[in-house]
């Protein structure tokens, strides 16, 4: 990109089902263990698609700092984000500020996105009281727990962060866009350090909309681990998930000066929108927009497509997957003899946690890049014939592939509203 500053990732935190530490998350990715379970409550609510992946928003009672803030928090979206941010902050080796100090770090900002974010609070809290005509009984905490910027507001309060504190929503592109926003903020000098990522919590009220759209897999209630089938010929819709992923981005000079451990470098990122033209609609991408977004990303990052070793796709397990692979193929324009890179879907393990998905998938991408492997893309035994015809079987790992030489990884998400977002990560080189 045309910026002078380089931006590196120095800390990561995830709250995923059964994984609240990076090591647990890495182990799940390595072993290719599905986190998708049957959710009895969905059955009780009359969902035909009853599987999901649920991350625990509960705050550790031993965590003295987060406990100070817990009394205000009713939103699971904020709790997940705050927990992931705490883990990322600690992972980056940054000092935990004294909550009684008036000191503010005006060089560090926060951008936590979410799709449903806190709006489920309207259903669980506001609706019942308004039906009784008693809005006064809502008390004082409803707005700050509902507003999408609530997670960023609490994180800035916990860590005394005085740069920008905002939220972003671009449907299923939210995670990649939040990280890209942080990248641009640090690279341009707006901030020296950014806490970025996304969160979305389990809530039957917010998941119900996807049930209504008939976009969830309804045919695998008795085999939850088989339900999320990105790139499979028998893919029948996505499986909703939840969680949060947070990364600490730093100006390379700042990271170096404090001797931080560096996971990877962000080469750049780009987003666009297909404007719902061509094949594009609210729920399906305009091919031209996707290809343009990917090509522009490669150009801005000053990489050649053949340098990409690994793609972490959006790949949610719907009929759109073969089109996505085709779009990557067309955007890359590989020459004869150049191999299509490995490609997998982290959603095959975690389900699709809406806004959080991109952030959790970027963390997964970085762990694979740093630790040298490509995780299994579960349930691809019956790879979709259009995908096999286009790129062959080899790029889609049915089992984990060790890949210590991996250097450059590309990650994209595509979302409702015909939005396309991509980011390129490189193993850190001096």
């Amino acid at each position: 990109m045309k910026y002078k500053k380089r931006v590196v990732i120095t800390g990561m935190g995830v709250i995923a089902p059964e994984a609240e530490s990076l090591s647990a998350y890495d182990e799940i990715l390595r072993s290719g263990r599905s986190l998708i379970r049957h959710v009895d409550e969905l059955e009780e609510f009359g969902f035909e698609a009853q599987n999901g992946a649920i991350a625990d928003p509960g705050i550790d009672p031993e965590n003295e700092l987060l406990r100070l803030f817990e009394i205000d928090l009713t939103s699971d979206f904020i709790k997940l984000a705050v927990k992931a941010a705490y883990n990322a902050w600690q992972d980056a080796g940054l000092p935990i500020p004294d909550p009684d100090s008036e000191e503010v770090d005006y060089d560090t900002g926060v951008m936590i996105g979410g799709v449903i974010s806190g709006i489920e609070q309207l259903v669980s809290k506001v609706v019942p009281l308004l039906e009784k005509k008693r809005p006064r009984r809502l008390g004082s905490m409803i707005v700050q727990n509902t507003m999408p910027s609530g997670a960023s507001a609490y994180i800035s309060s916990i860590f005394a962060l005085g740069n920008q504190a905002m939220s972003l929503n671009s449907a299923c592109s939210t995670g990649v866009d939040s990280v890209n926003w942080g990248y641009h903020s640090v690279a341009s000098g707006w901030a020296k350090r950014m806490v970025v990522g996304a969160s979305d919590a389990y809530n039957p009220y917010s998941w119900a909309g996807f049930e209504g759209m008939r976009v969830l897999n309804r045919s695998s209630n008795h085999a939850p681990e088989k339900a999320s089938r990105p790139m499979s010929a028998s893919a029948k819709g996505f499986v909703p998930g939840s969680g949060a992923g947070v990364l600490i981005l730093e100006d390379l000079e700042v990271a170096r000066a404090r001797g931080a451990r560096i996971y990877a470098e962000i080469l750049g990122g780009f987003s666009n929108c297909g404007a719902l033209r061509g094949q594009g609609s609210m729920t399906f991408p305009n091919r031209e927009g996707v290809i343009r977004a990917l090509k522009t990303t490669f150009e801005l990052c000053e990489i050649k497509a053949e340098e990409i070793d690994y793609i972490n796709g959006h790949l949610s397990g719907t009929m759109a997957d073969p089109f996505e692979v085709q779009n990557w193929y067309d955007a890359m324009q590989l020459k004869k003899g150049q191999k299509f890179p490995y490609i997998n879907s982290t959603k095959s393990i975690l389900g699709h946690s809406l806004g959080a998905a991109g952030a959790l998938e970027i963390v997964a991408t970085i762990l694979q890049l740093k630790n040298g492997y490509v995780h299994a893309s579960l349930n691809t035994e019956d790879l979709h014939p259009d995908i096999e015809k286009r790129i062959g079987r080899e790029p889609v790992p049915l089992k984990r592939v060790d890949f210590p030489g991996m250097r450059i990884a590309a990650k994209a998400n595509f979302g409702f509203g015909d939005v396309n977002s991509a980011i390129v990560l490189r193993k850190y080189e001096e």
Binding site: L68, F69, I71, D72, R136, R137, G139, S140, M141
Partner: protein, 86 residues
């Protein structure tokens, strides 16, 4: 219900809204709810809702505005309880 009993209940309500246990190590009847107990001012409306439930009464906004200390809360509740009896 005498004032001591009211005070005990008020304190147990206020404890739900204090971030730190330490503020209760040194307090008295004239402790200021916002400054001494370090309760977030937005939380006063939640405290009033709890008081309404606990003591079965209604607190209008003007009464809420007059509250500064633990004593103010106890006096307000005692007054309202007395009015109710009349």
């Amino acid at each position: 219900m005498n004032k001591e009993e009211i005070k005990e209940k008020v304190i147990s309500i206020l404890k739900k809204y204090t971030r730190r246990e330490e503020v209760w190590e040194n307090f008295n009847d004239s402790s200021d709810i916002l400054n001494d107990l370090k309760i977030n001012s937005a939380r006063l409306v939640d405290i009033i809702l709890d008081i309404e439930d606990e003591f079965d009464l209604e607190v209008e906004d003007e009464a809420m505005d007059r509250i500064r200390t633990i004593n103010d809360v106890v006096d307000m509740i005692a007054e309202k309880k007395a009015e109710k009896k009349d």
